[in-house]
Amino acid sequence: MIEVRNLTKKYGDHYAIEDLNFTIEKGKIYGFLGPNGAGKSTTMNIITGCLAATAGEVTIDGHDIFEEPTEAKKLIGYLPELPPVYLDRTIREYLKFVAEAKGVAKADIKAQIEKAMEYTKITDYQDRLIKNLSKGYRQRVGIAQALIGDPELIILDEPTVGLDPQQIIEIRDLISSLRGEHTVILSSHILSEVQAICEIIMIISRGHMVAVDTPDNLEHLFEGMTTVELLMEGSQAVVEAALKDLENVSSLMAEEEEDGVTKVVLTSETDDERTLCRNIFTIARALDLPILQMKTDKASLEDIFIELTNSETDEDEEEASEVPELISSDPGKEEDTSESGL
């Protein structure tokens, strides 16, 4: 459906997105996930032809968005970050304009408008001026606008921002109901939202794609990993030396806090929390290092998201290379990631 190759957008000297590559398959719901300013909107704007790219290409069903914009745009319904509505028109007038501009056949216009309004539950408000509608309803009008003309591809930039919880559920149901007939890409910085409705999650950070996979697979990335947080009495050097010999430890971070207490975060490639904790206890007892606190944790999708998007924010370039490493800590899964993603 969509092929994105080496897509780059530069604002002055700053790269908004750099060398993005991905493929969107027909009939699936994709979630674009990333913190604010990661390049989600920029990518969507380029895919929909609202913005020109510095380099790279985007083809939609074989139509290059830069070479054949009209053909390509006919396949897309787009809701930008702010719903692009004309405030001094009524909903019906506005949707009629969009339908005409999209080249919907005259006979179908009425039916299309009715359908879109029904879908987004705005039929009762059709003769109100858009400026008199609340943010949530404007958002719905924006979504209705994207649905008009039954485009195969529907791209929604943060569709649930500014809605109340009830409306969020409704919009999610609406998006889920598009599954199969339409290909949907939506962006969000809220993980649970993407997790709930998307079949494939694309995590983007600082203009780079850091992970593309199904929600389940992403969670499996960290399966078999256990994180232990420890507070031990003892200097950093002593604690570090003591715990170094633990089996299967993939990362160990020790930091001395005040009063000779050291905080340790260690990750182990084991499922067996109990054995891990017992081993730590044995070592601590042998060396007489009192454990003040010990907490174990399984990695959740939330952690993965934070891990993937944060590790890049620390330092610039060198950190960027750390991210793939993070994924490759489980080599088998890494294959998986690239396969189902591309």
């Binding site: 929909t48 609202c50 745009k73 004309y86 304009f97 969009v98 005409e100 501009a101």
Partner: protein, 287 residues
């Protein structure tokens, strides 16, 4: 293009803008017809239009200020970019809607000479040609206004800038009267114009290389022609500026001569500014 045209036109007439515009134009047309044709018994209806040209200072900024600026402010330009219509179609649709709004009161004004002809010997052809000229001047100004509106997202700024441009154009012949006709003045003036154009190109494209090359090429061309043919440069700058005075051409129409070159000139001005508006919108996608 049709969708944009229809949408734009209905915006003018669901808000007050369209009605106020028509009322304004018709009010002054009526006022001047009463004063000139009825009170002072002139048979030349053209004088009415000639005296009315100041209305452009008000109607053009008011009509054009929101046309593209507002799209940008409300972010509805994103919708236009994502719809399967080209930027040219958007701009043309909007421009045609502007022309339609201008045509409506002019259609009513066409009745004036018809009514007047019942009471005196009126040169109807002359009157209608004058109205036609009025339309073309208006068309050229509206294109300029639309371009100005494409440059900013503030309506007020667009209106102000448009007003200043019209004002400078109005006084252009007066200003050029003060420019010395010495060749060297024209030479320096043209160099200055070349520099300003290069600067504008730089501001629009942010491409240092292109603007410098442009400046060097145009400066070299000016310099070479100046060295080769100094006499051609005497009075050249005022001559060029006078050519650009849109209002002066308008007055020749109102004195009863219909000059096709001037109509072509107005159409060219409109075409150039429509083109620039399209470029200005396109450019925003690249920034």
């Amino acid at each position: 293009m049709k969708a944009v045209y229809k949408n734009e036109l209905s915006t003018y007439f669901t808000t007050l803008t369209g009605y106020v515009f028509c009322a304004f134009l018709l009010f002054f047309a009526g006022l001047y017809t009463t004063i000139i044709c009825l009170k002072n018994q002139f048979v030349e209806f053209e004088y009415v239009l000639g005296n009315m040209c100041f209305v452009f200072f008000i109607i053009v900024p008011v009509l054009t200020m929101r046309v593209l600026a507002e799209e940008r402010r409300q972010k509805t330009d994103q919708l236009l970019y994502s719809l399967p219509i080209s930027t040219t179609e958007v701009v043309l649709g909007k421009y045609l809607a502007l022309l339609t709004v201008l045509l409506l009161p002019l259609a009513v004004i066409c009745l004036y000479p018809l009514v007047l002809s019942l009471y005196g010997a009126i040169n109807l052809t002359g009157c209608f040609l004058a109205i036609l000229a009025f339309f073309f001047v208006g068309a050229a100004f509206l294109a300029i206004g639309m371009f100005v509106s494409s440059l900013t997202e503030s309506q007020a700024l667009a209106a102000g800038l448009c007003f200043v441009i019209l004002l400078v154009n109005y006084f252009l012949t007066t200003i050029t009267g003060y420019i010395s006709s010495k060749a060297v003045v024209s030479f320096v003036g043209l160099l200055a114009v070349a520099a300003v154009i290069a600067l504008i190109i730089y501001l629009m494209t942010r491409n240092y290389y292109i603007s410098v090359v442009m400046l060097i090429v145009s400066a070299a061309a000016i310099f070479i022609t100046y060295v080769n043919n100094q006499s051609a440069y005497s009075g050249l700058l005022p001559k060029i500026l006078n050519k650009l005075a849109l209002f002066d051409r308008y007055y020749t129409f109102m004195s009863g001569t219909f000059n096709l070159t001037d109509i072509v000139f107005y159409i060219s001005v409109a075409a150039v500014f429509i083109f620039l508006s399209v470029q200005s919108l396109e450019k925003r996608r690249w920034s």
